[in-house]
Symmetry: D3
Subunit: 61 residues, 6 copies
């Protein structure tokens, strides 16, 4: 049941993404008691021109 | 008013997507009483390396 | 795999919500070929003071 | 703290997107009292074949 | 067409939320050329025990 | 920068949620190289009548 969305910048390797979903699933299962099989994770990659903090896009810093 | 987001794997044809939004809009209108015109649908396509269940990405199965 | 989020105003009955997820799942399965068992739907209810079109909240119309 | 997601059609220039995050951050800070530095904005671009109102995709109008 | 979601802490007044959607709609219309009528805004309020940065929930700071 | 949304059923204790954000932040930082301070997590709780798989709401099982 836990549905997880992870938005992050482009550029991670496939190995990093593989480890990411594994470790995050473990972390959720350990702390909430949800079974690992019930954890769904969606990765959404972003580009720096589409992400801003304080009115500034990371592509404009 | 109903705002619908449908996340699914890449690969459906334009014909399938056309039918998808039509039928989902009908289903929502019939069951909730919302007018079809008020139903907004956003399709978001995903790749298998960005979708995981039980700590495994579909690209690693 | 299709992950669906339906945001709509509060006020539908449990019967309406039951029919909603049933019919939307059918619509998605029929048109995309995804198996019904793979369709996940999340309903998110909203209040009229938290929904605006054209700069006007529905609670202020 | 305010986390803002703006989904819009592809096609705006980088200048428009730069001004967009600036002005939206100002608008949020002015009206809610949140500091501008605490406002995070994510832009998500869409294509017309993935956006439908009233059961019709904009690409099919 | 621009679909905007604003997640922020509970506690703003109805007057602040009214001004928020007005000003954000203006900001989007001015900078992207989208007509104000096409801008949809959803406000989603959060509590401090459900928001964390750096592994710390705001309710635990 | 990683923005994480975790949707899960109501009912976890505050202790579980505290541990959840801590462990998930660690998992993301370790596997992606993002600094822990840059990880934002939003918890969104759901009720069983608003979550369905295979056309059946968990409240109707």
């Amino acid at each position: 049941m836990p549905l997880v969305t992870i938005k992050m910048f482009e550029g991670r390797t496939e190995e990093q993404k593989k480890a990411l979903v594994e470790k995050v699933t473990e972390a959720i299962s350990e702390t909430t008691g949800a079974s690992a099989d019930s954890v769904t994770i969606v990765i959404e990659e972003m580009t720096k021109n589409h992400y801003a903090v304080g009115g500034k896009r990371y592509s404009d810093l």
